[in-house]
Symmetry: C2
Subunit: 467 residues, 2 copies
Amino acid sequence: MEQNNKQNSDAKQYLAEIRAYIEQNKDRFLEELFTLIRIPSISSEQEHKPDMVRCAERWRELLTAAGADRAEVMPTEGNPVVYGEKTIDPAKPTVLVYGHYDVMPVAPMVLWRTSPFEPVVKDGKIWARGADDDKGQSFMQAKAFEWMVRSGNLPCNVKFMLEGEEEIGSGSLYGFCEKNKELLKADIILVSDTSMIAPDVPSITSGLRGLCYWEVEVTGANHDLHSGLFGGAVANPINVLCKMIADLHDADGHITIPGFYDDVLVLSDEERALMAQAPFDEQAYKQELGVKALKGEKGYTTKERTGIRPCLDVCGIWGGYTGEGTKTVLPSKAYAKISTRLVANQDFEKISRQFQQYFESVAPDYVTVKVTPCHGGAAYVAPLELKAYRAAENAMQQVYGRRPIPTRSGGSIPIVAGFEKILGLKSILMGFGLATDDIHAPNENYPLEQFFHGIETIPLFYRYFAE
Amino acid sequence: MEQNNKQNSDAKQYLAEIRAYIEQNKDRFLEELFTLIRIPSISSEQEHKPDMVRCAERWRELLTAAGADRAEVMPTEGNPVVYGEKTIDPAKPTVLVYGHYDVMPVAPMVLWRTSPFEPVVKDGKIWARGADDDKGQSFMQAKAFEWMVRSGNLPCNVKFMLEGEEEIGSGSLYGFCEKNKELLKADIILVSDTSMIAPDVPSITSGLRGLCYWEVEVTGANHDLHSGLFGGAVANPINVLCKMIADLHDADGHITIPGFYDDVLVLSDEERALMAQAPFDEQAYKQELGVKALKGEKGYTTKERTGIRPCLDVCGIWGGYTGEGTKTVLPSKAYAKISTRLVANQDFEKISRQFQQYFESVAPDYVTVKVTPCHGGAAYVAPLELKAYRAAENAMQQVYGRRPIPTRSGGSIPIVAGFEKILGLKSILMGFGLATDDIHAPNENYPLEQFFHGIETIPLFYRYFAE
C-alpha cells in the first residue's frame, strides 16, 4: 500500500513535469505536426507518390530533432519506411513504436468545411486529413519521446517504424519486417492508431477486426445499349450487381458466403456479459448518426456487431450514367468495392478466396463477373495479462483518473496481426482518437485535449513498462 | 394490274431522279449535316444551353436554304422550337415533319474512338453523337424536301417542327403544341427517329414504348463513417439500395411494383404469332452483344420483351468511394437513376406515382429514401390501315425492294403520344437507323447507305400519301 502510494505520488510528479513541458512547447508541437499534415500523402492515389517520399523525409527530420540517435528513410518495394532508434542500454527492454504517415483519400471534397491539407485549430480541435489517423496520433509518440530524452527520463530503448501504406493494406511492410527482423527486435510494439470510448471514458483496444477487400466488375453486353431498344431483353449489369450484393446477406443480416463464419471465435456468455458493461447509449449513438434505427446481424448488440462479429459492406458502387439530368442507357458494366471486417481466428486469405469463388460462381450466365482481391489482414487480440497491457492501463488511469476499459474495435490494422506472425511481437493499441473524429471521412478532426493527453500518457507507459 | 405497273414504272423514274440528285449533292449534304453535328446540343447539361440556341438557328438557316417559305426559331418555356413551312395549295394535304436537334450526353468519353462532335466518315458510316439520333435522320427529311421543291415534285404542303428537348422528355413541346394548334394543323406527322430491322430488312415502327424515369437517393447516417468502427451496426445505404433495387423484380423477371401491369394491353395469340414472323436470329443477336445468354421476363420472347412488355432498368448508380485503389468507408448516401419502359395503355403519370409511393413505402426505417420523378411519356400505337402508313410501306418497298415489316420498338418518343392527344394527329415512324448505330452510347454512327436511302424514300412517301 505504501509502495503503491509512493508510486502514485512519483507518477503524479512525473506527469506534472510532462504537462509543464507540453504547456511550454505546444505551439511548436502543433506547427511541427502541421508540416506533416500539409503533405497530402494519400497512399491510394498514384499522383501522390512524390508526397509519400516527402512525408517520410519530413518524419526523418522530426525523429532526429526529437532525439533519435539514428533516423533514416528506408526503401521497401512500395512507399518507404521511416526508421528511427535510440538505444540507452542494450540490456534494457525495447519499445517499438509503430505508426503510419499515409492518409486516406479526401473525396467527396464538397463536404469538407476546411481545406483537408491545410490544418486549422477551431473549437479545440485540429481539422485536417490525418489530424487523428495517424499523423496526429503517431506524432504524440514522437513528442513524448522528445520529453523523455530531453528530461533524462527515457527508461528503455526505443525504435520507431512509420510506414506509408497502412491505408492500402501495408503491402510492402510485411516484406520489410521479414528482411529486417534483427533491426526490429523489441519487447513490445506500441501503437497509437485507435480510439477510446469517450473523452471521459478511457479504453484500450484489446482486439481489432481483420479486413478483406475486393473490387468486382459485372459485364453485360459488350457496349452500352439503348435502354429502350434492348431494355427487358438483355441483362442490365447494374440490376444484376444489385441482386448479387443483396443476396450476400440473408433476412437476419447474416452473411451468406458459404463457410464465412466457420472459423469465427464464439465468445462465452460470460465474456459477452463483461463486454456489455462498457457504457453505451443507443439513443445518443443514433442521434449522433442521424438515424431512426440501427441495422445489423440478428442476435447481437451494437457493440458486439462491431466488436466480435464480422460484417460486409459495399464501400463504393458505380455504373451507367451518373451525371446531371437523365440519360436512358442500358450500361455494359457495373462496379463495386466490397469489404468485410473479420474477427479473431478468421483467415483473411481463406475468406478472400471464399468470396471470390462464391461471387464468381453465383454469377448468372447472362453476365460476366470478375472479382479482384485487393488487400486484407487478420484480426488481432491482445491478452489483458501482458505486462505491457497493464502498463498502458496504469498510464491511462493516471492521466484520465479512471481505469480504461478493454474494448474490441471494429476497425482493422491488418499489419498488427502480421507483426505477431513475422516479428513474434504483441502490440499495445493505446489510441486516443474519438468516434467523432471522422477519420476516413470529410472533416477529420482531433481534439487538442486528446492530443495532449496522449503525450502525457505515453511516458507513463514507458515508466510502468520498464519498471 | 396495268395501273399498278404504270405506278411502279413512274415511281422507278422518280426514284432515279432523286438518286441522281443525291449523287450530285452528297458532299454538300454531308457538310451541311456536319455543321449541325458540330454543335454539342446536349439538352440535359446546363452548360450547353447556348448550344441549343445555336443549333436551332443553324436549322432555321438550313430549312430556308432547302426551300421553306417561312422558317423561324420560336421560343418555348425551355429550348426553342424550329418551325418551317411551305404551302403549295391550302386545299392539299399537309405533312408535319417532326424531329429533334438535341442529343444525348457523351459520357463515358474514354470509350469514344473519335471526337463525338467532330464527325468523320469511315467504313461507310458517319461517326458522331447525333449522326443518327436525330440530326442525321431529321436532316434526311430536309434534303428530301429540298429535292421535291427544286425539282417541282412537292405534291402537298409541308411543315417542320424540330424541338430541342426530346432526350429530356420534350417538356416544353407539350405547351408549345397546345399554344400553336392552328399553326401545326396537318393531316399526318412524319418522323424519322427510329430504326429498321436490318439494312436488307426494312421495317416501320408501328408502336413505341412509353417511359418513366426517377432519381432515387438513399441516406443512412448523416455523414460518411469508418467502415470498421461502424460496419455491421449501422445500415449501409449502398447495400440497402441494392436490396431495394433487387426486390423490384421477382425471380421470373416480373416487376413487383403493385399495380404496375394493371393497364398493360394483352395481345391476342394471333397478334403474337404475327409478330413472331419478323426475322430474328437469337444467336446473332447474342453474338453481336457479346453475351452468353439473354435475360428477361419469363413467358415472352426477346422481341416481345422489348416490343409489347414493359421493363425496368437502372440507368446509373453511384455511392461511396469510386476512385482508384481502396478506401474503407461506410457512406452516408447512395443514388440511382431508374427508368421503366411502358407499353400501350399504361399511364406514365400513374406509373410515376405508383413507383414513388412504393419505393418510399418499402424503405426500411434505418434509411431515408427520396424519389424524384424526372420525365415520362405514354406509349404509342399506329394502326396499319392508315393511308399514311400504307404510303410509307409502298415508299420503302420501292427503295429496299421488300415490303417493310411493322414492328413494335422498345424505345420511346413520349411526345408522339402527346401529339395524338393535343393535336389529334397520328404519326408515321419511318426511321432508317440500325440497331448497330449505338445511339445514346459511345461511337454513335449512321451508315451513309441508310442516310441516302432515307432521302430516296421520303419523296416517295409524299407521292403515295398525296395521291
